[in-house]
């Protein structure tokens, strides 16, 4: 653009100044992004998610395994270790069951079940749910003999 001494020149200068200011703002924006990339290792993950259109925080957007890497989706060839681990989780649950039964027995021995109705108050503007005796374990019946378990 030609710089002259008329009013047009003044206007052009303003535009140029604003353009320069805009460039400086872009530099500040870019520096802010670069700064976050350096200082915050999660930022790149979050930025990557945003580039996929997601504001998911804390982890990468779930993506299918790249071609040629199907292993993550297949059942492992040797799953014995996982079976042992899962069995340990089940045992952990059974131990909790045992502990709960023992607590029940202990509280029964003290002449009072673990029910403490007197200490519970009503919810706001509510009538209290009727309480019943200690839960009966089940009303379900055993599986019918001879009926095969449905498996794939």
């Amino acid at each position: 653009m030609t710089l002259t001494a008329d009013g047009k020149t003044a206007k052009d200068s303003t535009l140029v100044e604003r353009w320069l200011e805009d460039q400086r703002d872009w530099q500040r924006t870019a520096m802010a992004y670069l700064d976050s990339m350096v200082k915050n290792e999660d930022f790149l993950v979050h930025l990557g998610n945003a580039m996929r259109g997601s504001l998911l925080a804390g982890k990468p957007y779930p993506a299918a395994a790249p071609a040629g890497q199907p292993a993550a989706q297949e059942a492992p060839a040797d799953d014995r270790l996982d079976q042992v681990l899962f069995a340990l989780h089940q045992i952990q649950g059974q131990l909790t069951d045992l502990r709960l039964v023992l607590d029940d027995v202990r509280s029964s021995g003290k002449g009072s079940p673990s029910v403490r109705p007197a200490t519970r108050r009503k919810a706001k503007a509510t009538k209290r749910t009727k309480r019943t005796k200690r839960p009966a374990p089940t009303v379900a019946r055993k599986a019918r003999p001879g009926k095969p378990r449905s498996r794939g």
Binding site: K8, F86, H89, Q90, R121, P135, K142, A143
Partner: protein
């Protein structure tokens, strides 16, 4: 091109540049500021752990448990738990707690490789049963209220049929019972190969695959271009609003891997063409569960625009639990629980839980 036209074009370009930069500045602000991303909004204490499960007890403003009637929230094990405790002022569980109930929430956690062997019995007769027992033990109340969401509702329904005396009231949110109703996540998964999942040699179904089933329910809006375009438009919103959006996005996009054995079993028993729940008798592990045993008051809520659990498939519960009260709300699968209009459902749930037995249902 005249000088004026040139100037107008440059002004327009400058404005375009300014708007784009403002969006990027806002994105940077949102990506670098803290918020409720992946954690519940209400203060809580972990009262029980088993495998990946954490049982949370919500605390009051003084950091103490409430002493009202206990309520256990059972979210779906294939997604994150915090949808029921999303944001301060926008928390289903928080609303129920504020009404005076002693609220517990199950966080099933993120399954890892060994959890692919987990089946229905492990969840229903294991994790859910023990969670209820722990709540009973901590509160001294033998029959507690249970609120199940989506697949968590299915687990809750089966649990309530197995142990009806331990459930005072049951709320089922968008819980599909009629697998033959077309549409929804079950049918999409069926079309995308769920039938091939093996019970005997299960795999851990990757999160991306589970997510792809959900994305197929609305393929247009879930395309990469659709998502990016939507986010770019949203970047005009205030940062505070975007942080709320980010919280919801963190729930929607953080799908967890699913135990293949659980999916295979549910498909074989409840999926299209099987529809075991509608027969009223289901085998869980080595036990037969009769849904007729569900005699406590039941509230089943469906969403008019639910793409994941079609309302017809949810409302069909009256065929197997005839006394169930059915409520259909405007909105979608997630919106009715955690959307801006969800407060109506929260209060309806509080009212239902607060009604003493026999008063409203004549039981």
């Amino acid at each position: 091109m005249s000088g004026d036209e040139e100037e107008r074009e440059l002004e327009a370009l400058l404005e375009l540049s300014r708007r784009g930069r403002a969006k990027l500045d806002r994105l940077h602000e949102v990506l670098t500021s803290p918020g409720h991303y992946g954690t519940g909004a209400t203060p809580s204490a972990v009262v029980y752990r088993e495998n990946k499960l954490r049982l949370l007890r919500l605390l009051d403003e003084q950091g103490k448990p409430r002493t009202g009637p206990p309520v256990l929230f059972v979210p779906a094990p294939v997604s994150r738990y915090f949808i029921v405790d999303l944001l301060p002022g926008r928390s289903f569980a928080g609303h129920v707690a504020a009404a005076g109930f002693d609220v517990f929430v199950i966080d099933f956690g993120t399954p890892t490789s060994e959890d692919r062997f987990a089946d229905l019995a492990y969840y229903v007769d294991g994790l859910v049963r023990r969670s209820v027992r722990i709540v009973s033990e901590l509160t001294g109340v033998p029959a507690i209220n249970v609120v199940g969401y989506c697949l968590g509702g299915t687990l809750s329904l089966l649990y309530a049929a197995l142990y009806p005396d331990t459930v005072a009231r049951l709320v089922l949110l968008t819980t599909m019972v009629d697998g033959d109703v077309q549409g929804g996540i079950g049918w999409v998964a069926h079309r995308m190969g769920l039938a091939g999942e093996s019970y005997d040699t299960p795999r851990l179904v990757p999160a991306a695959e589970v997510k792809s089933w959900f994305e197929m329910l609305a393929p247009g809006s879930n395309s990469l271009i659709g998502r990016v375009s939507d986010l770019w438009e949203r970047l005009d919103d205030p940062a505070a609003r975007l942080r709320d959006v980010r919280t919801m996005a963190t729930w929607v996009d953080d799908v967890v891997p699913a135990p293949g054995r659980l999916l295979a079993e549910m498909y074989q028993k409840f999926g299209p063409g099987r529809n075991g729940l509608m027969t009223g008798i289901v085998q869980i592990g080595d036990r037969m569960v009769e849904l007729a045993a569900v005699r406590m008051p039941v509230l089943s809520v469906s969403a008019e625009k639910d793409l994941i659990a079609p309302p017809e498939g949810v409302d069909a519960i009256t065929k197997i639990v005839p006394h169930a009260e059915v409520l259909r709300l405007p909105g979608g699968h997630v919106g009715i629980v955690a959307g801006r209009a969800a407060a109506g459902l929260w209060q309806r749930t509080v009212d239902f839980l607060a009604t003493s037995r026999g008063e409203a249902h004549g039981t």
